[in-house]
Amino acid sequence: MQLKQGKDNTTYIVEAMDLELPLERRLEALGLTPGTRITILNNQKRGSMTVKFRGTRFAVGKRIADHITVKEAASHE
């Protein structure tokens, strides 16, 4: 599934990113790589959403969120 379809207060694991190179590089530099755990804080709006990864909150636009493939992290983690 795509990150944008995720639920609030749920943690996912990034599987793949399909964005243009400079943007992907920026995300990687912030620590968002395949395998990273990402928690959705607020995905109520149609557009951008807020997430948390590597200890920091970020606001992420829809265009980015639509191109990040994630899977739900096991709940006991």
């Binding site: 530099a29 912030l30 790589t33 607020n42 109520q44 590597r54 920091t56 970020f58 606001a59 980015i64």
Partner: protein, 681 residues
């Protein structure tokens, strides 16, 4: 005299690096641009125990790759001989994010000192950091400091001077629990950051190859890692054609992941009490970034800001005016008793005091406005605004991030235009720069306050507020039309850190507000002073020399020549035209010019205003004209300082001229509409 030690300050955005830098250098610094790019470079000096340190403030960055201008500039500067020691400023309350840059810096091989900033916040939140274990794990000294409380500063410089000569840190062996390396060289004895055995094997091979091909290379390990990441500039500079099998692809993701794994390990060991404040930020964000309530809350906050600006500001302004009135009366009688000539008295009282003084009475309004903006910025709310506004901005073909320059535009267009740098795409930057001056800056406030009080005494605040709204509407419409014109799908993608909320620090706010107030006072003392004197000269001298009748002056001749252009918009009065031209120097000058041009002293007082209304009324200048004037002032050519900034940012005189022409045209059309609609009532 020992040699100067060159220290580079580097750190993530929001880590308080600049505050720390300022704590060392004070106001004593040189601000310039890095050669060839519009990234600000700050330099200053400090001394400690007889040694001199040259400090360079590098841009706030998250990583040392070379994808953005800021990263490139920082990396090149650190690698060059310009820097002897790196001071890595980290937000100690957010180590997980900040240590990533630290690990990259350590790999560069230059002496690195870790400055653990915001230790006061760490304590406030009841967190504890094992300050013994941290330097052990990283192999570099870690000094707790607080830029806000100015503590730990001399210890930091002490560490800098001690470690300046240690090009390679003494590696400290640290145990790695169950992660025992089976690698033939146990790199844990040499480096803090050790990768997986597979990567270390590759690094070893590349390092050997580098040693063969480039024997003088100073830090082969860093270069080897960069080659594994397929870093463009390093790969181009140090080609190793025989190693395609080793560097068969980019290992950047593994390298990043393993760095973060190590950081997690560090955090596990050194962070004793985890923060409880996070819950607070989450609770607050639940409302402030709410799907429905986020936007109204933001609009409410902004309305409150303006309400304070007008009510509290005006209340304080009253006292300023009383003082100014008695001051100018005292000066007049003083000068008269000294038998100073009429011309001189006129210059001082009509020219300087009414010009500069008139502007000073608006200081309280501006003070309150900047106080409020500083409060929003320091608390961490500003970044949320980008999130809240992203959807709306998206429809305009702009990123939510572009809203921050626009918001800053309410304070002053100069920093606002500069803030557009944060946008990645040039097209977005140009669009933002074009519309930012439409956001009504504080310099235009005096014009609204004065004219709305004179012509709309019952609805003064509403009329002033309508100017702000109109500015926003014009800016939004312009952006919308442009995004339709260029047709391309918006390239923007919002990505912005939402820092933890914190109670704003009085000192930080005080410094910020003082800087702005100082700017304003400086402007009153320089640009406005000079403009007042020049204007006085233009109005008191004509082709026949010193004139007592203003209508024979040079100013009147210039103004009259331009009247036909301004008549259709209801501003066909030569005095107004001259005031508008003078206003290009600085917008506040429009007010001071009016007082000089119409010969009304203390224009901001009740008496002054009623005289002014009577004078203008006699000329046929009514409410519709006044509103048209306000609209024109809102939208027309920005002040010289803004023009200079725009020119520096867009790096093209032609483009700057185009932007200015566009703004003038918009101002003319809008005032035309407003004036003619106004006449219908």
């Amino acid at each position: 005299m020992s040699k100067t030690i060159n220290v580079g300050f580097i750190g993530n955005p929001n880590c308080g690096k600049t505050t720390l830098f300022n704590a060392f250098t004070g106001a004593n610094l040189k601000v310039a641009n890095w050669p060839g790019v519009t990234v600000e470079k700050k330099e200053g000096y400090t001394t400690y125990e007889g040694e001199q340190f040259k400090l360079v403030d590098l841009p706030g960055i998250y990583s040392l790759t070379s994808y953005t201008m800021e990263e490139k500039v920082s990396r090149e500067c650190i690698m060059s001989d310009e820097i002897d020691v790196i001071v890595d400023v980290v937000d100690a309350s957010c180590l997980e994010r900040n240590l990533y840059l630290t690990l990259q810096l350590i790999e560069l091989g230059k002496p690195v000192i870790l400055a653990l900033n915001m230790m006061d916040i760490v304590e406030e939140r009841g967190m504890e950091i094992d300050l013994h274990r941290l330097p052990e794990m990283l192999g570099i000294p870690a000094i707790p400091v607080s830029a806000r409380k100015k503590s730990g500063l001399s210890v930091l410089m002490h560490a800098v001077s001690h470690h300046a000569d240690h090009a390679i840190q003494n590696p400290l062996i640290h145990h790695h629990h169950d992660k025992q390396s089976r690698h033939e060289h146990n790199h844990h004895t040499e480096y803090a950051m050790v990768y997986s055995d597979a990567l270390e094997d590759k690094i070893d091979v590349i390092m050997d190859a580098l040693a063969c091909s480039y024997p003088t290379l100073e830090n082969p390990r860093w270069h080897a890692i960069k080659l594994l990441e397929k870093d463009e500039s390093v790969t181009a500079a140090f080609p190793l054609p025989d190693l395609e099998k080793i560097i068969d692809r980019s290992y950047e993701q593994e390298i990043i992941n393993q760095k973060y794994d190590f950081i997690e390990e560090i955090i596990q060991e050194i962070l004793v009490n985890k923060s409880e404040k996070e819950a607070f930020t989450e609770k607050l964000d639940h409302f402030l970034t709410h799907r429905i309530w986020g936007l109204p809350l933001f609009l409410g906050i902004m309305a409150l800001v303006f309400l304070l600006t007008f009510t509290v500001g005006d209340w304080l302004k009253g006292y300023f005016e009383i003082f100014l009135e008695s001051f100018s009366a005292a000066v007049t009688s003083g000068l008269t008793s000294l038998h100073v000539g009429d011309m001189m008295i006129s210059l001082v009282v009509d020219g300087i005091i009414s010009g500069v003084g008139g502007i000073l009475t608006f200081l309280p309004n501006i003070f309150i406005l900047f106080l409020a903006l500083a409060f929003l910025e320091d608390s961490g709310y500003m970044a949320r605004v980008a999130f809240v506004m992203d959807d709306i901005m998206g429809h305009l073909g702009l990123s939510g991030r572009a809203f921050i320059p626009l918001l800053l535009g309410f304070g002053c267009s100069v920093p606002a235009v500069m803030a557009s740098r944060a946008l990645e795409h040039r097209k977005d930057r140009l669009k933002t720069i074009l519309i930012t001056p439409f956001m009504s800056c504080s310099a235009r406030l005096p014009i609204y306050v004065l004219f709305s009080q004179m012509f709309f005494p019952k609805h003064a605040m509403l009329v002033s507020y309508s100017m702000y709204l109109l500015g926003i509407i014009v800016a939004i419409t312009t952006a919308f039309v442009l995004s339709k014109l260029d047709g391309s799908k918006a390239e923007h993608a919002l990505l912005i850190e939402l820092p933890e909320y914190k109670s704003p620090n009085a000192r930080t706010i005080a410094i910020y507000v003082w800087e702005k107030v100082k700017d304003y006072l400086t402007k009153a003392g320089t640009v406005i002073f000079v403009a007042s004197v020049i204007l006085w000269g233009l109005l008191n001298f004509g082709p026949s020399g010193y004139v007592t009748d203003i209508s024979n002056s040079f100013g009147s001749i210039i103004g009259k020549a331009a009247v036909p252009l301004f008549a259709p918009v209801g501003l066909g009065y030569w005095q107004i035209v001259v005031a508008l031209i003078a206003g290009i120097a600085a917008k506040e000058v429009v007010v001071s010019s009016c007082s000089v041009l119409f010969g009304v002293q203390n224009i901001t007082t009740t008496d002054g205003m009623s005289t002014m209304v009577a004078t203008l009324g006699a000329l046929g200048f009514g409410a519709a004209n006044a509103y048209a004037l306000m609209v024109f002032c809102l939208l027309y050519i920005p002040c010289t300082a803004t023009i200079a900034t725009i020119n520096r940012e867009v790096e093209s005189k032609k483009l700057t001229a185009l932007i200015i022409f566009f703004q003038f045209a918009v101002a003319w059309v809008m005032s035309f509409l407003v004036y003619h609609i106004g006449l219908l009532f």
